[in-house]
């Protein structure tokens, strides 16, 4: 199952959400907590370096994050995806919605 860690950088007003393992619906509460509990943060950096597996519910969760952050005037960046995970994001046209680095 996935583990989710959120690290704040108060100075720049950014949060790094690091996801490890299998990113699926079992993480939805933890993932939601990670951004709902951080009002006022403007930049959310989702680090996927250690994500091994992903499914459509995880994609949905990323969209919920995006909706939430955009409504507060912030932005979301997805970083360090493994090749296969990046391809799945691309198939889902996520490169049009997110900045993927």
């Amino acid at each position: 199952m996935a583990t989710i860690n959120a690290i704040d950088d108060e100075e720049s007003g950014s949060v790094t959400i690091k996801i490890r393992g299998r990113f699926d619906f079992s993480a939805h509460q933890e993932f939601r907590e990670a951004y709902k509990t951080r009002p006022g943060m403007m930049l959310f950096n989702v680090n996927m370096l250690e994500v091994e597996y992903i499914d459509s519910s995880a994609l949905g969760m990323l969209l919920l994050l995006r909706e939430h952050v955009l409504s507060e005037g912030g932005s979301v960046v997805i970083t360090e995806c493994a090749k296969d995970i990046a391809r799945i994001l691309k198939i889902a046209n996520f490169d049009k919605l997110f900045s993927i680095k």
Partner: protein, 591 residues
């Protein structure tokens, strides 16, 4: 403050008692049973003032009916009433509430000791005498509520325990399935190798693997996982995979052991490991190599049955040390025609008889020597061990393997390539029922597909996504009839997965069949995944394109479509067939 009487309306009194009520008693649903309207009104006023919900009955029988209808948290009960008195009503309420605790407090004008004692005797939890003191009533209600909560907690814990137990059992059953269908099935037997496995109750932590090297040597592995059940199975899958694949490719024992250790060290939780021994015997060379990591001594018995050589463990079990720390110590022994190797799990020597006496290695050696003369050695050894423990419940898995070094056996080089071929071309079929759904993990299927087909490793993430989506569709839309549109509402994800959890827990029937065919060779091939469920079907395809990238639902099917060569559904949506083409992307990088 002194004793308050029934209609005390003093403000300071309210302030003083408020704390008790809010903190301890909370807001409760209280049933008052009393035939006197004045009493009812007074009690009702007290309780409502403190924020409780009140319902009222005028005799025992009415009280009983109202109890069933309203399911109150606490009952206040008068004793003397027409039609049915408070004693009888209490008796009957307590009978009905066997599975949960409802405190009943008697409120009575009776003051004789016998009448009050009877209140408790019939099942009442406390009593109060009229006129009712507000302070005492509050205090007693608070105490009764504490008791009620405590009971509730105990109940919850008991239910959790039962659920946990059930889940464990399901995991064991699934693990058993993996063991019998995959690991046991993947091994190639040979005429000179005999195996006896008597696993403990449900699932074995022991595995036996047999494979041939390209040179025609036989390699036999006996492994013993810490624990049983699913955790044991999870460690056994990579062992099986690495052993077969690398042996067929001609890797030496040292490299295979290092790779198994690395993989287990990376994947197993701390504290879990696997003891293994491997014997490799090459016909025509009169030599055998033995690797023993944490297993009982491997025994080598000469043909005449006069001499036993013990090869003890000189290595740590696999999965404990990192690749850099782990060293491999392999022994080489001369073998004569007709010599036999025995490998066994510690369940054999630990088996106890009725008096608690362990069988012990010495007894085993004696039996082996005695039996060598008869020609039916293996059968006799097994009988002797099983006879020893037959009157007691077996405590550990018992596995024993015999390898006979017959120099005049036919060489079976051609068979090796056939075996290799069959590992690439195979089918996996699983049928899941309601008992499996709560614990089934689609990752297991991915492991089953990849098991033995190393080049597929780089397709792991895609295979996982494809299988998870197909399985989620079959389960959530097919069997549970969940509507993905739920996800589009605010908080939809939380609601969707809470609903899923609830429906899943209540699911009593239904099945999902998974059938997978793998074809191809190490360069590439095709995997066909078919999934069928017993649900009423759903309508796939309605939302299955990626046009609206930001839509919150309907992405799963589209993902599978993009990742696969083809995806078809029947018109009901309860059958799906996905075809995945793959190529070995880095053939030159493989070991």
């Amino acid at each position: 403050m002194a004793e308050a009487v029934a209609l005390d309306g003093d403000d300071s009194f309210h302030r003083k008692t408020k704390a008790i009520s809010n903190e301890a008693a909370g807001h409760l649903k209280v049933l008052i049973v009393d035939d006197d309207q004045a009493n009812l009104s007074v009690l009702e006023a007290f309780l409502r003032h403190d924020g409780h919900h009140v319902c009222m009955a005028r005799d025992g029988q009415e009280g009983l009916a109202l109890y069933e209808k309203e399911q109150p948290d606490i009952v206040l009960m008068d004793v003397m009433m027409p039609i049915m008195d408070g004693y009888e009503a209490t008796r009957q309420i307590k009978q009905k509430a066997v599975n949960h605790f409802v405190p009943i407090i008697f409120i009575t004008a009776l003051t004789d000791k016998l009448s009050l004692a009877k209140c408790v005797e019939v099942g009442g939890d406390d009593f109060l005498t009229k006129p009712v003191s507000r302070i005492i009533l509050k205090a007693k209600m608070a105490a009764a509520d504490r008791m009620r909560r405590l009971n509730q907690e105990l109940d919850d814990q008991r239910n959790d325990l039962a659920k946990h137990h059930k889940r464990l059992r399901q995991e064991h059953e699934l693990a058993e399935h993996i063991f019998t269908k995959v690991i046991a099935g993947a091994s190639n037997r040979a005429e000179n190798i005999k195996v006896r496995m008597s696993p403990v109750a449900i699932t074995s932590g022991d595995i036996v693997l047999v494979e041939r090297t390209p040179e025609g040597c036989q390699r036999v592995l006996l492994g013993d996982s810490t624990g049983h059940g699913l955790s044991a199975a999870i460690g056994a899958i990579p062992i099986t995979d690495i052993f077969h694949t690398m042996t067929r490719k001609g890797f030496g024992m040292r490299e295979i052991v290092q790779e198994m250790n690395r993989k287990l060290h990376d994947t197993l939780p701390v504290g879990q490991f696997i003891a293994v021994c491997i014997v490799e015997w090459c016909q025509g060379t009169s030599k055998a190599s033995i690797f023993n990591a944490g297993m009982s001594d491997v025994l080598l018995v000469n043909e005449g049955g006069e001499r036993i050589t013990c090869i003890p463990s000189r290595n740590l079990p696999l999965g404990i040390l990192s690749k850099e720390e782990y060293t491999v110590d392999i022994e080489v022994r001369e073998t004569g025609n007709g010599d036999r190797f025995y490998m066994y799990s510690d369940g054999v020597v630990d088996a106890r008889d009725r008096n608690g006496k362990e069988y012990g290695q010495q007894s085993l050696e004696e039996v082996i020597l005695r039996c060598q003369k008869g020609g039916l050695a293996f059968e006799n050894i097994c009988q002797a061990i099983e006879g020893h423990g037959s009157d007691r419940e077996q405590e550990d898995d018992i596995t024993i393997v015999e390898i006979s070094c017959h120099e005049n056996m036919k060489q079976e080089r051609t068979e090796a390539s056939l075996i290799k071929n069959s590992a690439m071309n195979r089918t996996i079929s699983l049928r899941l029922g309601p008992r499996e759904f709560t614990t089934f993990d689609p990752l297991i299927i991915v492991e089953l597909i990849i098991n033995g087909m190393e080049p597929l490793n780089s397709h792991r993430a895609f295979l996982y996504t494809i299988i998870t989506e197909l399985y989620a569709n079959a389960l959530e839309h097919g069997l549970l009839q969940l509507d993905s549109a739920l996800k589009d509402k605010p908080d939809g994800y939380v609601i969707y997965y809470e609903t899923r959890e609830r429906l899943l827990a209540g699911l009593k029937s239904g099945w999902i069949n998974i059938f997978i065919e793998c074809a191809g060779d190490e360069q590439g091939g095709q995997i066909t995944i078919q999934m069928e469920d017993s649900g009423k079907g759903f309508t796939p395809g309605q939302t299955s394109d990626m046009a609206d990238a930001a839509a919150l639902s309907g992405r799963g099917v589209a993902l599978v479509k993009e990742l696969c060569k083809s995806l078809d559904h029947d018109r009901y949506g309860s059958y799906a067939r996905a075809v995945y083409d793959w190529r070995c992307e880095d053939a030159e990088k493989l070991p």
